[in-house]
Amino acid sequence: MARVPGLVKGLGVTLGTLLRTATRGANTVQYPHEKESPPIRSRGVIALHEGNCTSCMLCARSCPDWCIYIEGHKELAPPRREGGKPRQVNKLDRFDIDYALCMYCGICVEVCPFDALFWSPEYEYSEPRIADLLHDKAKLGEWMETVPEAPALEAGAQGKKK
């Protein structure tokens, strides 16, 4: 046991942390009484903007887990101007995301050509039953309210080409 200072310095570190926690507070957050808000880009839940979706199925195809279930049908919408042809539009019947399978990878959001899917930092949607983790069209539409604005980019960044 030659040099003792190492042992004493170690005691000093723990005592210092004790005093720092006692005076300046802990590094922890007392969830659920206080909650930290996650960063803007945080991948919490996926929201669906139904109006933009054309059921092109790109998201369902690109999901690594195949957790998106889409069903749609084609309808004839009235022509945009007088004397034109009726247009064929896709109407969404079913758009479910199964959050029990979702890996939160974001490929679906990235791949959507019509900007119908968005990330939202909401994370408090745990359910006692796994079946309730299948969010349907209506619920995904509700998440749209929680979608934040995209953050400003760092200096030197070029804007997105979209």
Binding site: C105, E110, P151
Partner: protein, 390 residues
């Protein structure tokens, strides 16, 4: 509950019979001990079958595979972005580092190079993953040896790094940020300043751990001279990363391989240690964390402006060919051998993970070692089960 196969059953019986033949002079019986797969000391579901004579190990063998998730098979039926997502989860503590060699291999096949800004940000995130991974190692080291406080300090300071990664990529543990041709997004405003303050905090954490753990005489007497791996043995067993550098081999792929990343734009040092014992491995990793913070600081000052994604088609089909890229990951050398047939996804991906080769030395290393030293040696070798089993 797995069923024991015939072979396993026979080897168990043989082991028990061999036990009774041990140490004939004292007529003592050996004991076959299963360390794992559920055990606090192994970083996951690793099983080490050890035959003990009293407190000494006579024979040891790691039995891995409890966490095999079939990455290489999965990769055969996934597209490149999907494989990137999966590959995050191999070494889950420093997950951005897993994506990089795969994406670099795909870019090599495509003949595309990411723009300079993307290269810098990739390198910064890579080094941040290294910091996140190895700072947890420093804390976990304390727990394996009985000091329960350092791990909380490690988690506390690692939070800052994870928050940074989350602010930039959206995911703390699984960023899924690398794309063929560059990165998914650019950095949010204020990220550079935030990162600078975080690197300062991490350097302070390294100093704290040095005082609390490394300077502790008890820690030193537990790790010095334990599990010595001589230089040539380390090279023969294919060790990589800090394990190799702690045995005195000057080997760092960041410096030696010429990859389109930004390490060459920063001044940094490769840390080696001549001893090759457990203390050396832990010490080298501590220095690597410090060095990583310095690399990040230098690169932050020099990020070039510009696009973050090269000109690549929206739907990427990587042309035919084969490519191998390996990088200096936090755990060691991680490499991907990507075989492409011109599809949306790879035809075959072979993953060379660092920990699988690192634990190949365990039978050689654990012979003649005391039981408490098993834990010290395993802790200092530092493997992650996801990395061993993939």
């Amino acid at each position: 509950m797995t069923l024991l196969g015939d072979r396993e059953r026979l080897s168990y019986i043989a082991a028990q019979a061999a036990d009774s033949r041990l140490n004939v002079e004292l007529e003592t019986e050996g004991m076959t001990l299963n360390i794992g797969p559920q055990h606090p000391a192994t970083h996951g579901t690793l099983r080490i079958i050890a035959r003990l004579d009293g407190e000494q190990v006579v024979w040891a063998e790691p039995s891995c595979g409890y966490m095999h998730r079939g990455y290489e098979k999965l990769a055969e039926v996934r597209t490149y972005p999907q494989v990137t997502t999966l590959v995050n989860r191999i070494d889950w503590l420093g997950s951005f580092a897993n994506e990089v060699p795969f994406i670099l291999a795909a870019e090599k096949l495509m003949g595309v190079e990411a723009p300079p800004r993307a290269q810098y940000i990739r390198t910064i995130l890579f080094e941040l993953s290294r910091i996140a991974n190895v700072s947890l190692f420093l804390g976990d080291l304390g727990v394996q040896l009985g000091a329960i406080t350092p791990v909380f300090l490690a988690f506390r300071d690692r939070e800052y790094v994870l928050n940074l990664i989350e602010a930039a990529t959206g995911g703390r543990f699984h960023p899924n940020f690398d794309r063929i041709g560059g990165l998914k997004d650019d950095l949010p405003a204020g990220w550079v300043d935030e990162t600078r303050s975080v690197t300062k905090k991490l350097r302070r954490f390294c100093d704290e751990i040095e005082d609390l753990l490394f300077g502790n005489e008890i820690f030193q007497s537990r790790t010095r001279g334990i599990g010595v791996i001589p230089r040539d043995v380390a090279l023969q067993y294919g060790l990589s990363g800090a394990n190799l550098r702690a045995s005195g081999v000057d080997w760092d792929l960041r410096r030696d391989h010429d990859l389109p990343m930004a390490w060459k734009h920063a001044q940094w040092k490769v840390w080696t240690h001549p001893d090759g014992d457990s203390f050396a491995r832990c010490w080298v990793r501590l220095q690597e964390v410090r060095e990583a913070t310095r690399i990040v600081d230098q690169l932050l000052d020099a990020i070039p402006a510009g696009p973050v994604m090269a000109k690549v088609p929206k739907i990427i089909k990587v042309p035919e060919g084969e490519a191998w890229v390996s990088t200096e990951n936090p755990l060691g050398e991680m490499g991907y051998y990507v075989v492409s047939r011109g599809d949306l996804g790879p035809f075959r991906v072979k993953i060379r993970s660092a920990s699988f080769n690192n634990i190949s030395i365990v039978p050689w290393l654990l012979r003649g070692v005391y039981v408490p030293d098993i834990v010290t040696i395993l802790a200092s070798l530092y493997f992650i089960l996801g990395d061993i089993d993939r």
